[in-house]
Amino acid sequence: MIKIYFKMFMRTFFIQTLWNYERMQNIGFLFILKPFLYKIYLNKDKRKKALLRHTGYFNTHPYMANVIVAIIANIEKKIVEEGSSNEKISDINAIKSVMEGPLAAIGDSFFGGTLRPLAALISISMLIFLKTSDSWFGAYNVLIPLLFIFLYNVVHISVRCRLMFVGFIFDRESIVRLLRFNFKLLWKMGNVGKFIIPIVTLFLYLKVFGFGPAANNILPKTTVNIVFIYGVILVLSIFVSRKFSPTFLFYGTILTCIIMSI
């Protein structure tokens, strides 16, 4: 059975391959569950029914799906051992629809909103630090992107593994167990780190580069630094609404620079 679990885990990396606007991750979910269903359902007709049960709508955060896959696999196992009942079959759909939303919210805010930006900022700090010396930069620049991939995937892959393991062992209780420790603590850590790292990186950046040609042409270096830095940060983080377009910021900055050159 461990071989099957390992196979399922490897297949979780393909959960979004056939993502579509109608039922989203449904085929990806079925692809993960397939080896397990083949193992437990020896009767072809029953297996066909089980496979068709999972062709319905499914969408959650791809990393967090592992715990749902494991719980659903446990229910399928119970159906084989104790016999099929309407209650158990409706349990499958209920668990999917109840869990996918909250888990997607946790996954999006933790991985997309905290871990990835933090890993990127740590790599950017390293880039700025190495830029202080040409020989250091020439020798170690390859490590910068590798550091980002390493930092992100150490957490990502271990969380994926753990979610699947916890799902198989603790079944429905796994959600309560997960909330007791992991994400709450990590979220708090991220909360502290995500404000410290940008500030440290920002000061490091100013120390190393200032603002290049912009500082010499218009105003004394320090004034431009202070005005621009606090201007951008204050405007963006306090006054600008949540739905702010980065593309607008990008073109706006370039336009400002061209105007500054006149």
């Binding site: 990396f13 979004q16 391959t17 993502w19 579509n20 606007y21 039922r23 449904n26 085929i27 079925l30 692809f31 397939k34 297996r47 066909k48 496979l51 062709t55 791809p62 997607a104 919210a105 999006d108 805010s109 997309g112 909103g113 990835r116 930006p117 990127a120 880039l127 930069f137 620049n141 910068i144 992107p145 980002f148 991939i149 992100y152 990502h156 909330l179 994400f183 709450k184 995500k194 940008p198 950046y205 200032g210 603002f211 040609p213 042409n217 951008v232 940060i233 963006l236 983080s237 306090i238 702010f244 980065p246 910021l249 990008f250 900055t253 370039i254 400002t256 620079c257 500054m260 050159s261």
Partner: protein
């Protein structure tokens, strides 16, 4: 090291697949894929800076469910490729590369939406197969989905690298000194705007489910 468009387009397509096709190991993020292209083209320094700018400005650009932002992998890959091929290590040219790559990234987004709609047809084909006892279609469907994803990304990069490169080089040579001076300043100021965007992103991240 190499300027072979087919090889680089294939590498770029493999990076792009990471967005949803396979893994989500974040090799599609600009901080990784731009230096990767830079490494193959022998200018990792400029590529890293491009990657840093794009990563910070589009820090919250992640496909979530039906929400599909602009494809930032193609912004960083294309701008790195163009600057390394035509104007190696020239900061002004790198900024022009970023400016021109954004419309191409929107084009890729449109192609991606089309691809996700096409997946509905594969999904029905798989479902019909299961009903007829052909369970092998599940694996085949996933393989087809992956193949089409890589193929469309590969063809897009071939087109964008060649046609986009021609547009890029020809327009750049027409720019006045004034505009080039502006681009040079932008090379230093864009990371600052990026820091602002990072702070904005962190400020808006909420986890209401865990706040108790």
């Amino acid at each position: 090291m190499t300027e072979n468009v087919i090889f680089l387009a294939f590498i770029a397509a493999l990076c792009t697949v990471d967005i949803i096709g396979f893994g989500q190991f974040m090799i599609c993020r600009p901080i990784f894929c731009a230096p990767l292209i830079g490494f193959f083209m022998d200018d990792i320094g400029t590529a890293l800076w491009i990657g840093m700018i794009v990563e910070m400005i589009w820090i919250d650009a992640v496909p979530m469910g039906v929400a599909l932002p602009v494809d930032i992998s193609s912004i960083s890959i294309l701008s790195t490729f163009w600057v390394c091929k035509y104007f190696m290590s020239l900061y002004e040219a790198a900024i022009w590369g970023l400016i021109l790559a954004i419309p191409f990234a929107y084009l890729y987004r449109w192609i991606d939406i089309w691809g996700r709609n096409f997946n509905i047809k594969i999904m029905y084909w798989v479902e019909k197969g299961i009903q007829n006892g052909k369970d092998g279609r599940i694996n085949l469907g996933i393989a087809l989905g992956l193949f089409f994803f890589v193929s469309r990304a590969f063809l897009f990069y071939i087109f964008a690298m060649i046609i986009g490169g021609w547009i890029y080089a020809n327009i750049y040579l027409q720019f006045s000194e004034l505009i080039l001076e502006g681009f040079k300043k932008a090379w230093y100021l864009l990371p600052v705007s990026g820091f602002g965007m990072v702070m904005h992103n962190f400020r808006n991240i909420k986890t209401p489910f865990l706040r108790h």
